[in-house]
């Protein structure tokens, strides 16, 4: 099949019917695939005011433009839907192998509609699809589900993406797990799958992708792989320690959120860092996703026999410093539980940290703990116990936690203790210490998120150049370029980590060589701008008022410790310029002219 000669599969779970539709090549030119193309279909077909957990919400599994090809890191797929957590359009992105195999089935995207009257899973293979009874695996954890379904399908090369008990129980922070350890993690996409009674999608395929000019593509791929391997970050730092290379970097820089963002340095960092993972002997070997020359994944074995991938930096932080916990074993166990139960690790860890502050300040009564351990910062038993309760939706507090930190904190009358943007939990960088990154949190189209425009790269890591994290001048423009370029990388089906080594011109080369396009770098970046505005337009129509482009109140209070002591986030000085550079009105709405320029008026 030609890269641009792609089919989408439409699956109606209410009627158990399917159809195939060709995808217009012009749409691929405008949106590439993945996040962009999936969001375009979603926004065209779904009422922005839809209840995210109703049958009328749709769930799109989309390959990026190059997913399944030999382009470096081209194993990514994305899940697009309306988020039950944020009420925004959601796009969660995952690696592993599943996405590449979806492409080999002959389908570029699957649009799932309606709701099955009983639990089902889909078997998708070589332009075929079957509805299969999932009653045998309903209620089961993701690892066991994967093993049972692979056995049932009888094909070792098949791949499984499924939900666990969290998604089945409609946890608003429930995720999807593919290949046992990889996740489109954020924004509660697992709950949408659960609401449709869809337990899993199993893919197997043997289609190959054909290129208009194979030698041009092969040449571009080789050149970019060389760049990635030669870059100090992607060639050495990430392969050696994975994302947990960051723990000490971020802590020493004074932006490592500790005890629910009450502090910005953690004295237990050394014990939970990537270095500790090696020294304690937990790390067994490196691993890599499909077609990845970086190989940042870790295969870990704990002393109690648990084997898993991870923990990643964000996860280690969420259950570690954020909860004041310096017990690496407990952090790994909580990570493992999240994967097994199908919970987003960032949201789960942040929610427990929020509960700890609420409990310590007397806002959660002791009786609500029922038989559980005290929610005190530093209590490692607590993070494992409460992750389990949250993932299983058990007990009064476990049920509240399953709704995410904002709804839990609101239930106790104190939403201000929830460190969220648009009700999604913030990741592992205190925005008071990085002004551009904070602006990106506030404006992210899916709420609190670090991978919509990873400003940590220039502001902390010095890649592609070092910016002063406290400088305001020029930051809105940097944020916009990072946000738009990220939308391109996602939609191309490549991993964001390639951007440490590659730039806009490199992505343009790969896009043109793979699809036979002749786009300029400016046109490619404009695709990202179009996607960003499309998402924003949907959110505004969904009732996400621009007043939500903000940060938790705590981020406007001085940092109490560390090398950036006294810093506050200066959002009010950045946001007006950001809106202006985006071509938006001062009130955050998108003028018709801006939409017209991007081809976003219907």
């Amino acid at each position: 099949m030609k890269l641009t000669d792609s089919m989408l599969l439409r699956v109606n779970l209410s009627t158990h019917t399917v159809s195939e539709e060709p995808i217009d090549e012009n749409l691929i030119r405008q949106y590439l695939g993945g996040r962009g193309l999936g969001s375009k279909y979603f926004a065209d077909e779904v009422d922005p005011m839809v209840d995210p957990l109703s049958p009328e919400n749709k769930l799109i599994f989309a390959c990026g433009l190059m997913t399944g090809s030999s382009a470096p890191t081209a194993g990514r797929y994305m899940v697009i839907t309306k988020s039950p957590l944020t009420g925004t359009i959601a796009c969660s992105n995952s690696g592993g192998i599943w996405g590449a195999v979806l492409r080999k089935t002959g389908y570029f995207m699957i649009i799932v509609e309606g709701k099955s009257d009983k639990p089902v899973y889909l078997l998708v293979y070589d332009n075929n699809v079957e509805f299969k009874d999932a009653s045998r695996v309903w209620g089961k954890k993701t690892g066991e589900t994967t093993d049972i379904l692979l056995d049932e399908v009888g094909e070792k090369r098949a791949r499984v993406a499924c939900i666990g008990p969290a998604g089945e129980n409609l946890s608003m922070i429930g995720c999807i797990i593919n290949d046992k350890h990889r996740a489109p993690g954020r924004s509660g996409v697992g709950a949408v799958m659960g609401a449709k009674n869809l337990k899993a999608i199993v893919v197997k395929g043997s289609n190959t992708i054909e290129f208009k000019d194979k030698s041009a593509f092969t040449g571009a791929v080789k050149e970019k792989i060389d760049k990635i391997k030669q870059h100090p970050v992607t060639g050495e730092g990430l392969p050696a320690l994975g994302t947990k290379v960051l723990d000490n970097i971020i802590n020493q820089g004074g932006l490592y959120p500790t005890r629910n963002f009450q502090f910005a340095t953690f004295d237990g960092t050394e014990e939970i860092s990537g270095e500790a993972l090696v020294k304690k002997g937990y790390l067994k070997k490196n691993a890599a996703c499909f077609a990845c020359p970086i190989g940042c994944a870790r295969d870990v074995e704990l002393p109690n026999g648990i084997t898993m991938e991870g923990p990643e930096y964000e996860t280690g932080w969420a259950f570690g410093a954020h909860c004041g916990v310096n017990d690496l074993h407990a952090i790994c166990e909580a990570n493992f539980l999240c994967n097994e139960l199908g919970l987003d690790t960032i949201s789960a860890g942040v929610t427990i940290g929020t509960a700890m502050e609420l409990y310590e300040k007397g806002h959660i009564p002791k009786e609500d703990l029922e038989d559980g351990p005290e929610l005190k910062f530093g209590n490692s038993e607590s993070v494992v116990y409460w992750t389990n309760k949250m993932g299983r939706n058990e007990g009064r507090l476990g049920k509240l936690m399953a709704k995410g930190s904002w709804r839990m904190a609101e239930a106790y009358g104190h939403p201000e203790f929830s460190m969220t943007v648009k009700k999604q939990e913030l990741p592992a960088y205190d925005p008071r210490g990085v002004q551009g990154h904070g602006l990106q949190y506030a404006t992210s189209n899916r709420g609190g998120c670090h991978v919509r425009g990873y400003m940590i790269s220039p502001e902390v890591l010095g890649v592609p150049e070092k910016l002063d994290p406290q400088e305001l001048k020029g930051k809105p423009q940097w944020v916009i370029i990072f946000q738009d370029l990220t939308a391109v990388i996602d939609s191309a089906g490549l991993c964001l980590f390639t951007s440490f080594a590659l730039g806009l011109e490199d992505y343009t080369d790969l896009i043109n060589a793979s699809a036979g396009f002749e786009l300029t770098p400016e046109e490619v970046l404009r695709i990202g701008t179009r996607i960003w505005n499309l998402e924003r337009k949907f959110n505004l129509a969904a009732g996400i008022d621009p007043s939500q482009d903000t940060l938790p109140k705590r981020m406007f209070e001085p940092l109490p410790d560390g090398p950036q002591k006294g810093a506050v986030h200066q959002l009010s000085k950045l946001l007006p310029e950001y809106y202006e550079l985006r071509g938006w009105s001062p009130d955050g709405s998108i003028p018709k002219k801006t939409l017209q320029n991007l081809g976003l008026t219907s």
Partner: protein, 93 residues
């Protein structure tokens, strides 16, 4: 004294977390790095610096938590009691 802390790959490569050296007047990051290398058998400067002696892209050197990119880079002067943290290039998210 100057306290030097080794992190990430350096910590694993050198199998040590820190080193203390007596303060020398007019010390800069450049002279300190050279002095550290004379104290440690394992070659490590190439993890932080390019062949010409400039910082590699992504190398992070902090003096009391402040990145030398925003001080005087390799010529950043040091004072008695300073803490210097060394990180070879790394990334994630």
């Amino acid at each position: 004294m100057i306290k030097i802390r080794f992190f990430t790959l350096l910590q694993l490569l050198l199998n040590r977390k820190e080193l203390e050296l007596p303060y020398i007047p007019e010390e800069t990051i450049r002279t300190l790095l050279e002095r550290i290398q004379t104290q440690i058998e394992t070659r490590f400067l190439h993890k932080l610096l390019q062949e010409q002696g400039n910082l590699k892209i992504g190398t992070i050197i902090l003096v009391n938590g402040r990145n030398i990119h925003h001080l005087q880079k390799m010529n950043t002067p040091l004072s008695d009691g300073d803490e210097v943290a060394l990180f070879p290039p790394g990334g994630g998210g």
